[in-house]
Symmetry: C2
Subunit: 476 residues, 2 copies
């Protein structure tokens, strides 16, 4: 019962501490007895359910179907694609005993499921008529991370992984970008998070992919979060797994493959983009509860008004909570802020005598006294306004930390040491220069942005002719 | 392209073979490279999604919220409740390596999550104000079964597990039965499966439970499938995990606990209760696709009619599929039966000339020629009729294999050796007599039925005064 805003460290004082304070105060996560694994509590899980519902519909609208693969990968299967196993083997959990019997072959828990999907595809793909196969899976994966942080990096991750197979390279490439686009739209229109879309460097791409595309979000502190990726595999896995189909010319050919995924780390992004010193701030389009109703006193007029609003919100498909606990109104207001409900609806006897109620926006904390009869319309308008405002605020802050005119290594060094955000620089394309920036300045390449990659300059590290512009930044 | 009904063994000839034929022919499951783990293919997974959607709503309507616990249980945590660990330790998968490092303490993959929930409850339960906690989790669990069969018994299982904590014994007992009732209603009204509800014997109850309640379904072959269970734990786990709360009298007390679960095995039950020699038969209330539209020819009138029905079905929230492949109509009809779509809608040019279309019920295979303008209403009626008919047929068959008047051991032996189904017998309550029936006749106790347990007779094995009637039967 002692939860108060004062438990939350200011985000401008200690951002890392602020993050863990928010997660605890808003009851999103609890730590478990299993090191590196988190318990997602009801409110945190409700946010994930809200995300899953929207994305799952978007995947189905674009022709995808869900399947469920085993969680285990026999070691021999993981070993089939060379780059893939080298990328993942060092960080998987190995099952070596079944009951009291040692296994003949150890199995890892899937860190990702390309190998399992390919093993299945080999059996079910025979002809071009079987293509495209547009599969998705919602599941948990395990990566044995050394340092962990709730939602951002944990040993067990909830995610979705799309895996598709196509008859032509063109179609597979289109799918890769189509799904990146689905992610970008989702981040913008639901999470209210602006992202930079582009291509990862060879060094940063997914183990086994020909190309990896990414959506890069910037947190309040200017640090990057890779918030979703989409991979084009070409025929690499198909060759390793010997998956062939008869094409329209009746010739055997390897199909072209993609995969794409997003995780619970998006919840971390919501927290770190929108949250403030009063707690979580949830964009209305993804908030499990959009209106938190707080009775100031439990007299008859207030109870009647609550009933009125419950009916009105229900019939307008607006989710709500009524705080009927015996806590004080002040405590309830604070808790409402901590939980980030987009709108707080205060119903008190004095307001009601004037046929009024009070609405409080979570994003601006503005109090708005409205006629009771006008409140429903105002709530509908506010939900739209808050969604837009959160996106615009996030965009403005992000843009204020984008350095798109960095021309010397000294400027880049100044940004790395004294500022925060992403720096767009000219790059020759060599991994040595990319690694130099990482080792010397602690900045990793984010992506080669689709819309800002053209250059006629010289590499910011070696001075040779640049082939592209590229973003660098610190990352979570 | 060679899928035909002739690939399906008759269920009266070889029921086990029929079952695996159906699963393959209807594209529900594929076997994976991981022994004992199945791949749930899109159509099989769509049935599961349909089940999850309905049940999840029912859980939420009854006040439950979803959470996500880790998939790992450290060995020391599993060991805390004595009966529980003895029941589960022999059949768990052990993770012993993280990357290239042996773990200090090995962890099993959850075979069920009581221990994880209790570990969390210990931290979050302080006062009676924190109770009840009504949690549920959708996840996969692992049990290292030696013999496996798709949906019925596999090493990895998709399920839900409810875990609740209450301030009083009365409330916890009510919860246990309330959720059993939710399961029973769901089986009846969605899966069209009649179940017998009752209590498990001490021998058959869940490891660590004080009481286990069950819903027992009977398959077409008279064999039982335990299709869901609900457990009352009393304070056993709470004591083992030292979970205490301050009650209203300000005294420390252990809370009372329940858990309840159903799994993908319900899909096995749907197959084995309703399926026939032509394939799967899905009850309309759970079928992912309710109407399968088959164009007999692709002329303009047919295409117009398809558009008309797509619009009409969509605006009535009736899911459908249009088979636009270039297969022959005969092949499409057969496939429609294999997949168990409740209604087949055949649209051909000749019918259309008379303003007619043809509906075919999957349950009775009856052909119904209707006016096109009347078809939508007829489809709506048929979906209700088929649902009822499937339940009534299943009930009738189940009742024909219930032997409720067995009074001698010889009669029971005759049923075990020459018949199939459940036999209701008088029982003294001693495990020796229960085990004798199992060892001698291969019948296991199903449950002590709520509505038929009263007796004034003598135990069918030892002849001593019976304390209850109880069902015995073979089981999957």
């Amino acid at each position: 019962m002692e939860k108060k805003n004062s438990e939350i460290t200011s985000r401008d004082v200690d951002f890392a501490k602020w993050y863990t304070d928010i997660i605890k105060a808003a009851d999103l996560v609890d730590y478990s007895s299993v090191k590196g694994s988190m318990i997602i509590r009801p409110y945190g899980y409700a946010i994930w359910e809200s995300i899953v519902k929207v994305l799952d519909n978007k995947f189905k609208e674009t022709g995808h179907v869900n399947v469920q693969m085993p969680m285990f990968i026999p070691e021999s299967l993981l070993n089939l694609e060379k780059e893939h196993v080298e990328g993942f083997a060092p960080e998987v959990a190995w099952v070596t005993m079944g009951g009291e019997t040692p296994l003949e072959e150890r199995m890892c828990i899937r860190p990702t499921s390309e190998t399992l999907f390919c093993d299945h595809y080999k059996k079910i793909i025979k002809s071009y008529r079987d293509l495209p196969l547009l599969y998705n899976q919602w599941c948990t994966i395990v990566r044995w991370e050394k340092t962990t942080k709730p939602f951002l990096r944990s040993r067990e991750i909830l995610w979705q992984e799309g895996h598709t197979m196509h008859a032509t390279e063109k179609e597979a490439r289109e799918e890769t970008l189509k799904m990146l686009n689905v992610y970008e739209d989702f981040q913008k229109n639901y999470l209210a998070i602006p992202v930079i879309t582009g291509k990862k460097t060879d060094k940063e791409k997914f183990a086994g992919a020909e190309e990896t595309y990414t959506i890069e979000a910037m947190m309040y502190d200017g640090v990057a979060l890779q918030n979703g990726t989409s991979h084009y595999f070409g025929q690499g896995f198909a060759k390793a797994f010997d998956i062939k189909f008869l094409n329209k010319d009746n010739k055997l050919e390897y199909p072209y493959q993609t995969s794409w995924g997003v995780t619970t780390r998006m919840i971390g992004a919501i927290i770190m983009v929108h949250g403030d010193d009063y707690g979580l701030v949830l964009p209305p389009n993804i908030a499990p509860i959009k209106v938190n109703i707080i009775p100031i006193k439990n007299d008859e007029a207030v109870l009647d008004a609550i009933k009125y609003f419950k009916d009105a919100l229900t019939s307008n498909d607006i989710t709500y909570n009524v705080d009927t606990t015996d806590k004080t109104p002040g405590f309830k207001f604070a808790e409402s802020e901590v939980k980030g409900y987009p709108i707080r609806l205060e119903i008190g006897p004095r307001d009601l005598q004037n046929n009024q109620v009070t609405l409080v926006r979570r994003d601006t904390r503005e109090k708005i006294v409205v006629e009771k009869s006008d409140a429903l319309n105002r709530i509908k308008e506010l939900l739209i306004e808050i969604q837009h405002n959160l996106y615009n605020k996030a965009l403005e802050r992000r843009n204020s930390m984008l350095y798109n005119n960095v021309s010397t290594y000294e400027e880049l060094k100044d940004i790395a040491e004294n500022k925060s955000g992403f720096a767009l620089v000219d790059w020759c394309g060599n991994v040595e220069c990319e690694e130099h920036i990482k080792d010397d300045l602690g900045l990793k390449s984010r992506c080669i942005p689709f819309d800002l990659q053209e250059t006629s300059g010289n590499c910011i590290v070696c001075g040779k002719r640049a082939t592209t512009k590229i973003y660098f930044g610190r990352q979570y």
